[in-house]
Subunit: 342 residues, 2 copies
DNA sequence: TAAGTTGTAGGAACCGTTTCCAGAACCCTG
DNA sequence: CAGGGTTCTGGAAACGGTTCCTACAACTTA
């Protein structure tokens, strides 16, 4: 039996070397584009590769090179269209550069965040994309400190000692524009229903709401922070409307929250914008089309994903941590009108 | 310098062995739960592992064991909520069994399907989950033949020579139920607007529609196959309504198609169900909540993902290819009423 | 022509783990 | 207590590549 044989049919670099009549190291050099390799050598090797249909084993490459061309994406909930689009944008960008993406769903549970991060470490990913749960636990931070790999957090602020890059959304200016529009339409009492006050998008929006309101005389704002869920949206809306001096305009902090808001309005037979004006954040394309003309605070989530990938690759290639803030746009719509006059 | 040292800080099985004062093979045995290992040995090793915070390198494990505990998911469009939920279900199931999921988006392009499949092969995934593009190219089949790894196709029929498992949805009975409901409401002319006639869900639904209609006297059905897109939905609806004898009930084959249908109806100022009854397939939770009470042909996509994962793992563990058909339910709703009488 | 460069190729060590193999220690029985 | 069978352990060879190191040959240059 000739030396380079294998029992199973798989062909490796040794088989290629034997076929081409050269050393394995030469095959490796040809395939990885090493400079010092003669023309005839390159030809022979490539011929053998084509004949045998050889494809390198990325596992072995990763082990030896110390780089796996893999990044891990920890995502709170991939069935959330916003996050799915981020994943889409990121995967596409990464794929173009030869990277593959490992996806792990944490179901918005900080413990799963931490577990997945260290699992990715064991898998030796080259970098981490993080769309973390609403709460960042100490365990998550600890896991992140141990990975020793570049990471990019999405729409979160995280302990700088981690050294992570961040891609943020500029929620503030969009909220400002929305408030201006609402105030221009005559509203004097505006409510924001959003997720946990600890999480960046909620906090930034709440702060921006207060700041924007202060620019206008006689306008008051109230924020109901809770969860990014339909339940919270419904309950908060009910409470707001039951107030002695209820808001005439509502801003929903997410799709799910909007669902709750709409449910409550429907139950009360209130119509938009006659009885109450509504603006929503992070609309999904589908919803936009189903309820056309809704006023939205919108960001390009696919671009967000692409940007996150770009930031990560820069770090993988040796760059330092950066923070990039992407624009968010307010889009006027038919769901905003003058306040009801009763 | 002691032998087991390393320049970088990373600790491997050698460091653990040295610390515990045993052989590396023993450490490996303890960690992989090999039966023949004494109690004191286990104690010493586990102590060293804990002291050093050792975590195995899954890359090296994969290389040596020949199993990477990784599966690849090739998906047409992760930003499609239906597919995102499938991914969610699959990832959760796989994660519980220690598997990680590589995600690749093919953008509904058969060439990318093929490329990603062979990329996954190079990454030595243990199995493949396939939600393929609308068209299955010869290149895709060829790539699939070369992978030599178990695969599960989702809602597609594929050349049996591939030996893939399949998880299908029983669209037929749901269409039957929908037709019964529509006919019961008085409809005599029903149209289905759906994707390419080559792709399984479209074909099965079209066939089921014809079969169901045949059960009723004087009822006629027409199918407009095209793309799973809003454009096709809009165009097809326009053409259908312009017909001399237009349908009084429409079934939309997907979310995107529904968007087009609704757009056209809105443009024509037609209301549901007064002017036309509408049933939609594969509603997303969000849409359901935004347009509550819509009649839908619904399947549990998370369960679909879980089932696909289960099927794949059975194959990975040595089982033969299976096909499993999951139920699809028709849910009556307010978007169905008696046909208009003009 | 001898010595120094440079380009090219092969051999072998290595990445971090598993597993085969062989030997040592132990236990049990005749 | 010798012999045979277990159970346990350590050493070394894989897994499939990459890369360092060395050697050889072919040119330059002195």
């Amino acid at each position: 039996m000739t030396p380079g044989q294998r029992q199973d049919g798989r062909i490796g670099i040794r088989q290629v070397a034997e076929r081409a009549g050269v050393a394995v190291s030469s095959v490796s050099r040809v395939l990885s584009g090493h400079p010092n390799v003669s023309k005839p050598m390159r030809r022979r090797v490539l011929l053998a590769v084509a004949d045998l249909g050889y494809e390198p084993d990325m596992l072995a490459q990763g082990l030896r090179r110390g780089a796996t061309m893999t990044v891990g994406f920890v995502v709170g909930d991939i069935s959330n269209p916003l996050l799915a689009e981020i994943a889409l944008g990121a995967e596409t960008s990464l794929g173009k550069r030869g990277y593959s993406m490992l996806l792990a769903n944490s179901q918005n549970d900080p413990r799963l965040d931490a577990r997945h991060i260290s699992l990715f470490r064991q898998r030796r990913v080259d970098g981490l994309l993080l769309s973390l749960a609403d709460e960042t636990s100490e365990a998550t931070l600890q896991a992140l400190r141990l990975v020793l790999r570049p990471s990019v957090v999405i729409d979160r602020e995280i302990d700088p000692s981690i050294g992570a890059s961040a891609v943020l959304s500029d929620h503030a200016v969009a909220i400002g524009a929305a408030v201006d529009d609402l105030v221009g339409a005559g509203h004097r009492r505006i409510a924001l229903v959003t997720g946990p006050s600890t999480v960046r998008p909620s906090r930034v929006r709440a702060d921006a709401l207060q700041a924007s309101v202060r620019r206008h005389r006689g306008v008051r704002a109230v924020t109901r922070a809770g969860q990014f869920s339909a339940e919270h949206g419904a309950v908060a809306t009910t409470q707001l409307l039951d107030d002695r001096d209820p808001p005439t305009a509502l801003i929903a902090g997410s799709n799910q929250v909007l669902v709750g808001v709409l449910r409550t309005l429907k139950r009360r037979a209130m119509s938009i914008p006659e009885d109450v004006s509504v603006v929503t954040c992070d609309d999904v394309p589908l919803a936009e089309l189903m309820a056309p003309g809704f006023a939205t605070i919108h960001r390009d989530s696919t671009q967000l994903g692409r940007e996150a990938a770009a930031l990560l690759l820069r770090r993988v290639e040796g760059g330092g941590p950066e923070t990039r803030t992407l624009p968010v746009k307010y889009r006027r719509g038919k769901s905003v009108g003058p306040p009801s006059t009763d």
